[in-house]
Subunit: 305 residues, 2 copies
DNA sequence: TCCTTCGTTTGTCCTGGACAAATATGATAA
DNA sequence: TTATCATATTTGTCCAGGACAAACGAAGGA
């Protein structure tokens, strides 16, 4: 009899990323999750609740609506997740993806590290990011969506990839060239991997990257851009980032930023953006960075400051 | 006339880390912050509100109580922050701390990187962590508390330090020795720097570290520990982490973890813990890691699995 | 000095109502 | 047929105000 196999509402918020308000509203509207109550009338969620909430969230991130899926049993949810993965013609994943997934599932950190380092050496940093990391992220994301990967297995992947990328980035001598680019994310964006991938694409191009890591308040992005005299501010947004929040933030930042400083927004989220936003360059995939840089360089005229 | 120099309540939650509930409750009880309302009756906070909220939060992290400070004007808050910093007898900060702070305030990323790399080379990884990074963190924390440093300046420090540490850790050949240690933090703990410092202390001791990065759900920490067959699970807690939440989490984890696996908890928070917790080793400072490892090794008897 | 008890402070949770943004649906025009 | 617009539905976020337990601090006793 485990005494504490339940979590209170803030525990669930932490574990799933769903706000307390949303959890209560879902219960009110859809009848799920319907946690028991403790002596004090407070909601106590079970681990099964958490699991189903994660499954629902995964499907919502892909565009399904809560009302449609909330009441379905777990089996149905898993089936829908499977259906979402486009089957390959040959029915086979490429060897590398398959190997890496196998390593993750067998918790072989050493082989994982070796394989990544190996590919990196063979391909060089930029090709490694475009041809290896991108499809690998996709494969890991798919596996995670289908529930094939545990959270901690995905963490291990992220961690090892960061190690590999950071090592390679460090190997480049520190540039003093142009443009100078400020890299960061908005405060509610947790994922720092995208940032690192952007840096990996830019550094070989002779760009001087100044990374603040994730989660910089809006006002500080402005201050940092001015203090570091950067030419470009580049922000990264993961797939799950709310488009609305991003647009508002970007517009506000654009207003506050001196006009000569370019504002670039990249990451999975940017593919869901419909409207073009004046003064903001959307970069939906990593390969476009090269073109964007080329374009910037051809238009830029050195300023006397 | 800037149209959007105000934030709604969730914006403030993001920027300050104070929950919506707390923000509303403070307004109800202390009359601060008292934001204006938009057409729809929703709270609109000003940038000045944000600034004061940050100041209040800094002081609370050091032990002051909200009721005492909430209504004071900003000038008073800053004065209190100053008073909190123990003055040195000689009135002078050591040269290195002073230099690094100067570099941060002048946004000289290059010098910062060089200086850190230099100290690291000269002292070696463990001494660098104990004798340079620890007091430096303290100095940067103090400066931040006094409002001398901007958020983005502190971000730059963290980022550059991570780069330096990771590079050095990578330089060690991957060990296959004992113990194997799983490193991570609880889901609500954002700070990954402590984790890296722990790894930097352990790797030179021949420990095989498996880091999952920050924010692993409880259940997954258990799964990962078993899957990776680790001997020790080490968790890091920053100063602001709620003791209660840590104790609960650690106790729950201890119950779920197989008995032979040791559970270590370290970081600033652990100094505030009064009660000893059975089966959990508290490690209040980084130097103690060496002793803890020595002790573990002398007690450990290789198991046949 | 250390420990217990008791009042106060503080954070979190609750209910149930309201509304606007996002999305889907259906009608109309090209 | 496809594209565009208006309307309906869905969904997330906000609000008020009440309640309570954990954390804290002060006073009293061993």
């Amino acid at each position: 009899m485990e005494p504490s196999l339940t979590l209170n509402i803030s525990g669930v918020e932490r574990e799933t990323g769903l706000s307390k308000d949303v959890l209560r509203m879902w219960e009110r509207r859809y009848g799920f999750p319907k946690p028991g109550r403790d002596d004090n009338g407070e909601r106590q969620y079970t681990l099964a609740d958490i699991g189903k909430l994660r499954a629902v969230k995964r499907l919502m991130d892909v565009g399904l609506r809560p009302g449609k899926i909330m009441t379905l049993p777990m089996a149905e949810l898993n089936a829908m997740a499977d259906a979402r993965i486009p089957a390959r013609r040959d029915g086979l994943a490429p060897a590398l993806e398959r190997d890496i997934l196998t390593m993750l599932k067998s918790h072989d950190a050493t082989s994982l590290q070796h394989t990544l380092a190996n590919m990196l050496m063979r391909q060089g940093l930029q090709r490694f990011v475009l041809e290896t990391v991108t499809p690998l992220n996709q494969a890991v994301g798919d596996a995670w969506m289908q529930g094939e990967l545990q959270v901690f297995e995905e963490h291990l992947y992220t961690e090892q990839l960061q190690v590999a990328l950071r090592t390679a980035i460090n190997a480049f001598p520190r540039q003093v060239g142009t443009p100078r680019v400020l890299l960061t994310t908005f405060p509610s964006e947790q994922h720092g991997l995208g940032l690192l991938m952007v840096e990996a694409m830019m550094v070989p191009e002779g760009v001087q990257c100044i990374s603040l890591g994730p989660q910089t308040p809006l006002e500080d992005i402005r201050r940092a851009a001015i203090a570091h005299k950067v030419h470009i501010v580049a922000l990264s947004f993961s797939a799950a980032f709310p488009v609305r929040q991003a647009s508002d933030g970007l517009a506000a930042l654009r207003r506050q930023l001196p006009a000569p400083i370019s504002l670039w927004a990249g990451g999975e989220m940017t593919r869901r953006v419909r409207k073009t936003m004046p003064g903001i360059m959307l970069i939906p995939d990593l390969a476009s960075i090269i073109n964007a840089l080329r374009s910037w360089r051809s238009h830029w005229v050195p300023q006397t400051i």
